[in-house]
């Protein structure tokens, strides 16, 4: 069944279909309609879950952490400063290996206050040990939420499903709502192997020493660093698991794309725009247009940002003369984080420096700055000229203050 609804409602329906059992959230623009919809679904009886109207984002994730430790499927959602207010909990959830799913409705962060879209909020949580997936449209939002639960529970690592505030959260477009029974088949009930249980008492997240320590039976158990190495190993394994899940989903629902990078006209492209989220779709019209001019361009949407699909970047995009990263975040004092990641990925792609793709970066759309199709077109066209030197950070859409 297709419906026309907002991106936030698409996310809420994904959570409903995923049968999340405990939901806790605190209102923040532009996430609010998502949690409003979930509370409505629960209050009306259309969804069977506990909705906890917490007093802060910090508590929202606290509820999810505890509920997940007790064995329930837990969900929360936030944006911008709400996500930053959760920050220590974000780390905690990953370290405790809890399969929580959180929607991050991307918004710029203060100061100064902004309510509009960019990706600085999610980027600032990049190194927390969460899987990060980005959606380009409403269909991907609803599908990704469902896939995220399965992925999280398979690898015991929490997942952020990121989608653009306003651009996706508050726009309306048609999308197909997956059949509930088929979702149940795809995503069976969550069974925690270990949970808070008086029949089998244990202490979770106990202080852990720098060095391994024997348990009561004399077995050597991990120190803090071993736990962290396991998280890293498992995060790298997510690349395989995510691909398997994407394949299963596609087989069951007849829909899906590359789990890592969704490419458009990249196969024979010499110049490829690389982006996260809805911007990648926005670029498709630009690519079509430049192709009409005879310029061999393509666009790639990075869908899985952590773990970073470095190998796929090399294999799928490494043939291009130049990769031009367009992103809505800055690692202040360096360059755009995605740009840096793409470069790092390509570093190992070939030993022949001449063969390696050049990478340049644009930062645009911060705090909701309007992105004009013409600007995208001109920027990409300029970058496509063989004479253009690659620059790590160029501002796009910045207005002179004279």
């Amino acid at each position: 069944m297709h419906i026309i609804e907002s991106g936030n409602v698409a996310a809420a329906m994904g959570v409903q279909l995923s049968r999340a059992q405990v939901i806790a959230a605190y209102p923040i623009t532009p996430q609010t309609p998502l949690t409003e919809k979930l509370s409505e679904l629960i209050e009306s009886g259309d969804m069977n879950a506990e909705y906890i109207p917490v007093e802060s984002e910090h508590s929202a994730l606290a509820v999810c952490i505890a509920a997940s430790t007790a064995g329930a499927r837990a969900f929360t959602a936030t944006s911008a400063n709400g996500l930053l207010y959760m920050h220590e909990q974000v780390h905690w959830a990953a370290g405790a290996r809890l399969p929580i799913v959180m929607c991050v409705v991307n918004r710029g962060v203060g100061a100064p206050w902004t309510i509009w879209n960019d990706h600085q909020d999610a980027m600032s949580q990049r190194d927390t040990g969460w899987i990060q997936m980005y959606a380009c449209d409403h269909q991907q939002i609803i599908d990704t939420v469902i896939k995220a639960f399965r992925l999280a529970e398979t690898v015991r690592i929490p997942v952020m499903v990121c989608y653009d505030g306003y651009l996706l959260s508050h726009t309306y477009m048609p999308f197909e709502v997956p059949d509930s029974n088929r979702v149940d088949g795809f995503l069976p009930a969550y069974e925690a192997e270990r949970f808070l249980d008086p029949e089998n008492p244990a202490n979770f997240n106990t202080v852990t020493l720098p060095e391994p320590r024997p348990d009561l039976q004399g077995h050597t158990m991990p120190g803090y660093m071993e736990f962290r190495a396991m998280l890293q190993d498992d995060m790298r394994r997510v690349l395989k698991t995510a691909a398997d899940i994407e394949e299963t989903f596609a087989a069951q629902f007849g829909r899906g794309s590359d789990p890592y990078i969704e490419t458009y006209r990249c196969e024979d492209a010499d110049y490829i725009a690389v982006c996260l989220g809805s911007l990648a779709y926005r670029f498709r019209d630009v690519v079509d247009d430049l192709r009409q001019e005879g310029i061999p361009v393509g666009v790639a949407a990075v869908r899985l940002y952590r773990p970073f699909p470095d190998q796929a970047i090399c294999e799928r995009l490494g043939h291009a003369k130049q990769l031009i990263v367009f992103e809505k975040a800055v690692s202040y004092g360096y360059q755009g984080p995605l740009c840096a990641d793409v470069k790092a990925a390509l570093y190992n792609s070939t030993n022949d420096k001449e063969q390696r793709s050049e990478v340049s970066g644009y930062v645009l759309g911060l705090g909701g700055r309007d992105i004009k199709t013409l600007d995208l077109l001109n920027a990409l066209r300029t970058s496509c000229s063989p004479q253009s030197a690659s620059a790590p950070l160029q501002w796009l859409g910045l207005k002179n203050q004279e």
Partner: protein, 214 residues
């Protein structure tokens, strides 16, 4: 069910207008853009959503509705852009050069440049008691309906204009069949006077008056 009133004519006409007046190279697919102006709380988004659903059911694969968000509160001017196309639409930016403009409250004309960017030959659809010829937009076709009174006559409380304006839009644009719209209005307002809302839209459809191009 998916019968589209005057579909081909309107499409050709609108697209023709687009191509004539685009100064730079037209990068867009064939997209019809309708910009809705209302006030916070007036239901412009709901109205545009109803049209979006009807258009999707009528065969438009590309349907995108983009509210423009600031920090508006109830009563402040708001705007939403509805884009319709035969193909998936990727551009989620607001309509700067709409083919049609729908104004839910004629007093907005004094506050907002509702005609900004409206393509020559495009439609301006206004909720007003005035005559269509009272408006002097250059090279624009005007359609008017007195939705405030029509809605009251239909049995709606004062100020409910978003269902009625859909009728005026349907009449002027000819884009979507009134039967489809009526059904979706009924579904949308299932809990709040569905029949009255449908009646308001249908009455508005019948009583919409159009002026010539100035």
């Amino acid at each position: 069910m998916a019968y589209i009133h005057n579909e081909t004519d309107i499409f050709t006409e609108l697209m023709g207008a687009t191509s004539v007046h685009t100064s730079e190279k037209d990068m867009k697919k064939d997209i019809i853009e309708i910009r809705w102006h209302g006030r916070g709380g007036q239901g412009a988004i709901t109205a545009a959503k109803i049209v979006a659903k009807a258009a999707f059911e009528s065969g438009y694969r590309g349907v995108v509705m983009v509210p423009t968000f600031g920090t508006e509160r109830r009563g402040a001017p708001v705007m939403t852009s509805l884009k319709l196309s035969r193909e998936k639409i990727y551009d989620l930016s607001p309509s700067l050069n709409p083919d049609m403009v729908v104004v839910l409250d004629h007093l907005l004309l004094e506050e907002v440049d509702v005609a900004a960017g409206l393509k020559p030959g495009g439609w301006m659809i206004i909720n007003t008691a005035d005559d269509p010829d009272a408006f002097t937009f250059e090279n624009i076709r005007t359609a008017v309906a007195d939705i405030h009174h029509i809605a009251e006559e239909a049995g709606l409380p004062q100020g409910i204009v978003n269902s009625g304006i859909i009728g005026a839009f349907a009449k002027a644009s000819g884009l979507v069949d009134m039967d489809v719209l009526s059904r979706i209005i009924r579904e949308t307002f299932a809990g709040v006077k569905p029949e009255e809302n449908v009646r308001s839209a249908c009455l508005a459809y019948d009583r919409t008056r159009t002026g010539g191009v100035k």
